[in-house]
Symmetry: C2
Subunit: 109 residues, 2 copies
DNA sequence: CCCTATCCCTAGATAATCTATACATAGAAC
DNA sequence: GTTCTATGTATAGATTATCTAGGGATAGGG
């Protein structure tokens, strides 16, 4: 595994956040994260689908097969109430971590 | 492994940054990071020493056995020029990642 | 008809963390 | 002088999350 395309431990949060706007299928989730991050964050399929399984198991999302507007079958994931709550928790913890790391990095010299 | 005590992938950077101020032994490095982060970041010994081995192997730090001011033998780690350069790279990449994640998290709603 | 983009998914490798353990000693408490 | 706590180094094994590298299907354009 070379350099990861994202910060380990943040993928679930990014997916939940993306789904907080609207239900999307996996492929579109990855595209959305890539686009919203100005191509800095890339979600590989081998990371994406296992992550979606985790979220399903935890009950943070539900899934439903539908047709896309381009007439392709796709599995749309939708945030649950528990998922929305979890997103809040993860964002909060993430911000705390970042603030702490920033304090360390801000030390002299 | 429960919830990690730090963001995975940031430990090497935190150690390098800590050593950029002054050479320290392992135990003091962990204490320093904990203290500088207001107890948010905890570096477990099982993470610390493997990380120091990695840094040694990469040539980013050197190690020397010395006595502490409390008259105990301890291994003091010192940042090398390559280590200082690496710290810059890691901080830069980290900031880019954080900025990207922040953009995703800032999306509506 | 082929080629690209769109879509889903899994297996195995890799890496970084944690838990748990082992060891050693200085100094304080008693 | 014994015991307790903090200081100090280190490794083994489990866990988890990521990546790489596949395998499959199909819509639409050339």
């Amino acid at each position: 595994m070379g350099k990861p395309d994202l910060l380990p431990g943040t993928l679930d949060m990014l997916i939940l956040k993306t789904l907080a706007r609207a239900p999307l299928h996996g492929y579109a989730i990855a595209q959305s994260i890539k686009r919203m991050s100005d191509d800095v964050l890339t979600v590989e399929e081998g990371s994406l689908y296992p992550a979606l399984q985790r979220l399903l198991i935890h009950g943070w999302v539900t899934a439903e097969w539908k047709m896309t507007d381009t007439r392709r079958r796709a599995r749309f994931y939708k945030l649950t109430a528990a998922g929305r709550k979890q997103l809040g928790v993860e964002v909060s913890e993430f911000n705390q971590m970042i603030a702490a790391i920033t304090r360390v990095l801000a030390e002299q010299p």
